[in-house]
């Protein structure tokens, strides 16, 4: 079953201004896996996420999502398979009410109105924010906004969830709720984060990116215990492991 596979083969990406963000990234993520992507600031984690739903096309190399190879023709099809949650929820919640925002994707998919409403309500319940349905985003806390962005993405029923720094600036309780939520998802999950405890909690596998390349790839427990590897990449042992 090659359905929900994410495969990067020797992917390069250079921004129009000349910044080389990815310099030959290769990995393969299987159906149902949850993978953490870690690394210092500016190593290309966000670029990686932007390529997964076809917003950026690789300068060289190939990306396969399921049965499709990413190119200009397949990018919109791939966009439906991979749901991306970006760093700043304010950039992602662009409609004036939670309901309108979550329904944005389903409406674009051409579903009937009843189906759209059904999907929106279901997604809001899954993300634990149904009671926010009619509120405007600017009245929400950051944790609530994050939950709504997740609802907005899962309302499109993607096969794969990709998240860029989902726990950034959340308070401890909101962060804990997010972790519980993520653990509950059966989707293939790809999460970039500096929050190594979150990765340890949610992901079984971890990829370390350094300087646009894959530096290490393996079980999260092993990688996140490798003091030397972490030091080299401006990372630290997860707090939960430090205490021992």
């Amino acid at each position: 079953m090659s359905h929900h596979i994410v495969e990067f083969k020797d992917v390069y990406y250079t921004y129009p201004d000349g910044t080389e963000a990815l310099k030959g990234v290769t990995f393969r993520i299987h159906h149902g896996e949850s993978v953490g992507i870690v690394g210092a600031n500016g190593t290309g984690k966000s670029t990686l996420i932007l390529q997964m739903n076809g917003f950026l096309l690789p300068t060289a190399g190939t990306i396969r999502i399921g049965d499709l190879q990413l190119d200009k023709k397949t990018r919109s099809e791939i966009g439906k398979k991979v749901g991306v949650v970006f760093q700043n929820p304010d950039d992602q919640l662009f409609m004036p009410t939670v309901f309108d925002d979550v329904s944005f994707g389903p409406l674009n998919m051409g579903l009937t109105i009843e189906r759209v409403i059904e999907r929106v309500d279901e997604a809001l319940r899954t993300a634990g924010c149904y009671e926010l349905r009619d509120r405007p985003p600017h009245h929400l806390s950051l944790g609530q906004k994050r939950a709504v962005t997740i609802a907005a993405v899962i309302s499109m029923q993607p096969d794969i969830l990709a998240m860029d720094e989902p726990a950034a600036s959340l308070d401890p309780k909101a962060r804990r709720q997010l972790i519980t939520l993520l653990k509950g998802f059966k989707h293939t999950k790809i999460i970039t984060s500096h929050d190594l405890d979150l990765i340890l909690d949610v992901c079984e596998r971890c990829i370390v990116i350094a300087n646009g390349k894959v530096k290490a790839d393996g079980p999260a427990r092993e990688i996140l215990l490798n003091q030397q590897l972490l030091d080299e990449n401006n990372l630290e042992l997860p707090l939960s492991l430090q205490r021992r």
């Binding site: 966009g79 662009f94 309108d100 944005f104 674009n108 405007p136 499109m156």
Partner: protein, 266 residues
């Protein structure tokens, strides 16, 4: 508190009011928009020396205010803030129009004063009607109303985005200004040079943000068309409300209730 902060929180307060629940809040936005427009047209259609006959029109803002649970103080404060231009223009009426119109126990009142009073009453009525409309109707509801009333989609979508990002950008601006003020000490306003560099910075951040928003929109299947779900339905209560208020407007516009009452008593 800084002037900017105050304005920011004022909009926020007005916006929060619009999400309350009350009879007025639950009316269809189209109905509220139409009755408010009819109200304003009736009020401004009075001849310029009319004062007494306009007064019964206070019933409409008073009704919306009390039935919609809107704090009177807030509306009064807002009225004070926006009056200068009207006052500036109106205050010349007593100067240029000195013909007597009323005499009350020896006091002679000139036409100019009456027309100034009339302008100020119109001002209070029309401005409070506009405030009460937004205080009792969510902005989203108004936009949907405009869409249903065939206002061009591009414009409606523009309003939606403006409203959504107004709070985000105003909040960002507020933090920038606070940062400047923290180091500019007691200078009250910014110099033009500082203003330019602040707005310039803000502008660049804004453009970058619009690119990120566009990414987010594309990743959710945006194809150039924004689709909005229709939600509101004009029901029996809405129809009754519209008919009743507009009938009252017509009656008040045609009959001088004030003078009738006055004569009955006087």
């Amino acid at each position: 508190m800084l002037a900017f902060d105050k304005e920011y929180f004022n909009i926020g307060f007005l916006d929060t009011l619009s999400y309350k629940h009350s009879f007025v809040h639950s009316l269809d936005p189209r109905i509220k928009l139409l009755t408010t427009l009819a109200f304003i047209l009736c009020v401004v259609s009075f001849p310029k020396y009319e004062v007494f006959q306009i007064i019964p029109f206070f019933f409409f803002p008073v009704f919306i205010l009390s039935a919609g649970n809107i704090p009177l103080k807030f509306i009064l404060k807002k009225l004070l803030v926006v009056s200068p231009f009207v006052l500036f223009v109106g205050v010349f009426n007593p100067v240029f129009d000195t013909e007597a119109i009323y005499s009350l126990n020896g006091f002679v009142i000139s036409k100019g004063w009456v027309s100034l009073l009339s302008i100020m009453i119109r001002f209070i009525l029309t401005v409070s009607a506009a405030f009460l409309l937004i205080a009792t109707t969510s902005f989203m509801g108004l936009c949907l109303a405009l869409e249903r009333m065939k206002v061009p989609k591009v414009f409606v979508v523009q309003l939606l985005f403006l409203y959504r990002y107004l709070f985000v950008l105003a909040g960002e601006t507020m933090r920038l200004i606070r940062a400047v003020n923290m180091r500019a000490f007691d200078r009250k306003n910014l110099s033009i040079k500082l203003f330019v560099s602040i707005t310039g910075t803000l502008f660049m951040k804004t453009i970058e943000r619009s690119e990120r928003i566009y990414q987010a929109m594309c990743s959710r299947g945006f194809d150039g068309e924004i689709r909005l779900l229709k939600r509101y339905k004009i029901n029996f209560t809405d129809t009754v409300f519209a008919l009743a208020t507009i009938t009252v407007f017509i009656i008040l516009r045609k009959y001088d209730i004030t003078n009738m009452l006055g004569r009955a008593l006087g």
